[in-house]
């Protein structure tokens, strides 16, 4: 599998009007986060929790800005109320990149196994549209995902497997 070039990826997000990013790191995003911290087109805010990051990105949207989030799928379990009673309720569009841990390649990390199993059912239950990106299709998938986000004015998730945006 090939990795997406971080600079291309960030340029795409700039072209789509994103100026701020926040979240809690996952090693799956190591390369992207390194590039992001150096990139002066974005402000990156290291949040202490994923629900805080949803609040911050929502406030940024209310102020007329556009933010994307970078979180681990374990963090999905921290954002239920922030999604349902803030972002979904007030119709705040947010682009959320979520690492898809706990799959076959993660056998050595038992802490991710249950969340890996339930990641898609959890997103379905929360009625959050989601897509998976890979090196060969990421632009087309994101074009489509952002269109849906604009239309529904609600958060959407992009699942990112190992090796796509970091180690």
């Amino acid at each position: 599998m090939f990795m997406i070039d971080s600079d291309n990826f960030l340029s795409y997000l700039t072209d789509n009007g994103f100026t701020l990013s926040t979240g809690v790191p996952c090693s799956y995003f190591k390369d992207l986060l390194l590039a992001l911290e150096k990139d002066n087109r974005f402000t990156y805010i290291p949040a202490t929790r994923e629900d805080e990051a949803i609040g911050l990105a929502s406030g940024y949207f209310l102020g007329g800005g556009r933010a994307f989030l970078i979180i681990q799928n374990s963090g999905l379990a921290n954002i239920g109320d922030a999604l349902t009673s803030l972002a979904q309720l007030y119709q705040i569009p947010l682009l959320v990149f979520v690492s898809y841990r706990g799959l076959e390649s993660d056998k050595d990390s038992p802490e991710h196994v249950v969340m890996g199993d339930v990641t898609k059912p959890v997103l379905d239950a929360y009625q959050i549209p989601y897509w998976t990106i890979q090196e060969h299709n990421w632009k087309d998938v994101l074009d489509n995902a952002l269109e849906v986000m604009e239309e529904i004015k609600k958060p959407i998730c992009i699942l990112v497997k190992k090796g796509v945006l970091g180690e």
Partner: protein, 186 residues
């Protein structure tokens, strides 16, 4: 002095340009009924008024952003204060209405009586924090609110207030209407 009375007093001090974010439950209901202008009233997402205010302050650096929060909300999202301490946005003001209770859900105790808010927040590296007990001395309130809102820089004002038994009506607007009205002011 009760939290609602502090909010009433605030309405005489705000110039109408400030962007106000209020925490869920009684506080946002009181803000809706007592403050002028279309402000951002949080219905749910308990614990998130501070990060919402921080995001707003970053997106609108020329506007003053005021967060009014109950102690229960503030403590639930306490770690967000450390992010505020890290960013130190000049245009963010936070007023904590500390009744030591989850008043909205029937007046159960929070843990706030054990905390020295000033020392805690100074420990985060924010020295522009002030803490006052409004339960027996209301004299300074106007001056303190003016300082918090009108003097430049990040300001945190922690006020011990009496329990609010004043019943306030719900916010009649749908959250999407709250948002649309608020966004129109930018």
């Amino acid at each position: 002095m009760k939290g609602a009375e502090v909010i009433s007093k605030l309405s005489t001090i705000l110039d109408g340009e400030e962007l106000v974010v209020s925490s869920n439950g009684n506080v946002s209901r009181q803000a809706y009924h007592l403050l002028q202008g279309d402000q951002f009233y949080i219905r749910g997402s308990m614990g998130l008024p501070v990060p919402i205010g921080l995001g707003l302050a970053l997106a609108q650096p020329r506007r003053t952003v005021l967060v009014i929060t109950g102690d229960g909300n503030f403590l639930m999202g306490l770690s967000a204060m450390t992010t505020v301490a890290y960013i130190k946005p000049d245009n963010l003001k936070i007023i904590i209405l500390d009744n030591e209770l989850y008043s909205t859900t029937g007046g159960q105790e929070t843990v706030s009586s054990a905390i020295d808010f000033s020392i805690m927040i100074i420990g985060m590296g924010i020295d522009s924090v002030k803490s006052f007990d409004m339960r027996d001395d209301e004299n300074l309130i106007t001056e303190m609110l003016k300082d918090t809102i009108h003097k430049p820089g990040l300001k945190i004002l922690h006020l011990k207030v009496e329990d609010d038994t004043i019943k306030v009506d719900d916010i009649p607007q749908h959250p999407t209407v709250i948002k649309d009205n608020f966004v129109k002011r930018l």
